[in-house]
Symmetry: C2
Subunit: 358 residues, 2 copies
Amino acid sequence: MTLDHFAQNAKSSWWNEAGPDADIVRSSRIRLARNFRDFRFPTIYNKEEANKVMELVKEKLGKQNTDAVGNLDIFELEKLESLERQVLVEKHLISPNLAEDSLYGACLLSENEDISIMVNEEEHIRIQCMVSGLQLTEALDLANKYDDWVEQQIDYAYDEERGYLTSCPTNVGTGLRASVMMHLPGLVLTRQINQIIPAINQLGLVVRGIYGEGSSAVGNIFQISNQITLGKSERDIVEDLTSVVQQIIAQERSAREALVKTSHIQLEDRVYRSLGVLLNARIIESKEAATCISDVSLGIDLGYIKNIEKSVMNELMILTQPGFLQKYAGGPLQPYERDVRRASLIRERLDLAQIENS
Amino acid sequence: MTLDHFAQNAKSSWWNEAGPDADIVRSSRIRLARNFRDFRFPTIYNKEEANKVMELVKEKLGKQNTDAVGNLDIFELEKLESLERQVLVEKHLISPNLAEDSLYGACLLSENEDISIMVNEEEHIRIQCMVSGLQLTEALDLANKYDDWVEQQIDYAYDEERGYLTSCPTNVGTGLRASVMMHLPGLVLTRQINQIIPAINQLGLVVRGIYGEGSSAVGNIFQISNQITLGKSERDIVEDLTSVVQQIIAQERSAREALVKTSHIQLEDRVYRSLGVLLNARIIESKEAATCISDVSLGIDLGYIKNIEKSVMNELMILTQPGFLQKYAGGPLQPYERDVRRASLIRERLDLAQIENS
């Protein structure tokens, strides 16, 4: 399998297409938590009930009923190899929880992977929609379309007063989690991020690393999401988050402008040294790779680097993760072997990118 | 002035041609300390006497008398700009002492710069011959030819019992200082250098950094020279040094082989990361540049890097020094400006090298 072919198959629409402000907002994501009326919730149900939920999903959301929304493929996690599950996590299509701990877990995926419906995670289902750039409203519209379609097939657990009922109290009400992934190297380099994160938290939003709760920011990528799901309409949640994100975008842009003005050569030095590492290293750990990819992405945004597409950097951020590396290698690798494989995959991909652009 | 032209003019024969074992021994140098019979020595003479020594040299060793040895250009240090003096030091054609502290100092240079005669340094004259690779005997023969020629024009201070008389007691006797510059990255990486330096010292030899006494080893380049000038014939001094150098060459070669065997990828990683820095950095300090040049030189020796000539690395080792950089820039530079200029000169030179070889 060639890298090109592998990468093509690995692509989700959101890291390929360029949505609004995609230089700073990598992706917008909506997740709707939903439970079915006639079943106990995942926190307390038993294996048998979990199996029934999955069987119901397979029956009601199977190919015979997808005319309204387009084809969805169903993947039962038990039937996937450990590496395949890891790849789905690395593509942000399923949560680490679903991959590791679920009973009869499954996911339904649309062809371009903008829609993923997780089954038997902490709620019976979570409908996820992920798109490029800052497009939360568009993502919400798309998620709602799938939500309406599911509701036509299966009754939800819904309370007139409290809204959608959920296992996790932080999901109750709208069941809506809206989030964006932002690349904020300017705010990190100018250290403004240290003031901005507490300010964002005070607005009732949460800032996390790239893989959700508990993870730290790798490659200057931050996930910002709503905390509150109750007492606000879905539109208001999305509009409030969008408005904060727009402010952060403006701050990131002025941080970049200030850096270019005051530290142009230092910035160019940093960007090109990182490109030099990616083009030349024979051994590279994931953290160094993420830092270099972040620097080069910034360099592309600033126009320092012209012969590499930004999408290649998004791709590398995904492809250089352990699951992908091992899938590409065709089997499990020791950490040191991964570092060697990661370095050669990066070099190969950049060679390809430079040939494409020469 | 183009870099290519500048570099051409900056080249001495020893870093251009490849002598025996030139992958490890960059150059062999012979220096003969001589004083004139009818003058007090530099440690005690006054300005007037120094002037007389220079006038005598200009008269007796001037163009009208060079038929036997070929053309020599004379440069009086007082007439040179500070940057030009520094460049002569960086090319190892004169000593830092001559550049900074001499009264009526001068140097006579052959066209390909293999011969340099320093005037009014710590001795009245020092005849220096520098050639590529391990060729101490050849260098001695050439130095002797110039020595004989000078002696035909001016009487030396010579004592039947003690030999050539000198200001500095460590020069007395043969007045001979033989030295080699060795690139020993293998012994440094395997840390064997820590045992080898004391062993060399015990043999009555001295190990120093690249710019002689008091300087530390930059870019893994070590100067090894004889300590004793008295009680041994010139041939014996040169043969003894040559034999030690041959042993060090053998040790360096086996260190490199061992590294390739046990740490092939780590070594390749190091070499290519350094190449990446040289090709991409926008700001680089001299020490980092020297380390990277050393790594890339090793990579060329080991066959990892094929499209860059080793001589380009020798050239960069010289061209990236402060004097050269400022001469190329056309005037004095602040340290930070030098780091920027150094980075761009390295990139330019490597681009040129890759075009030459593509």
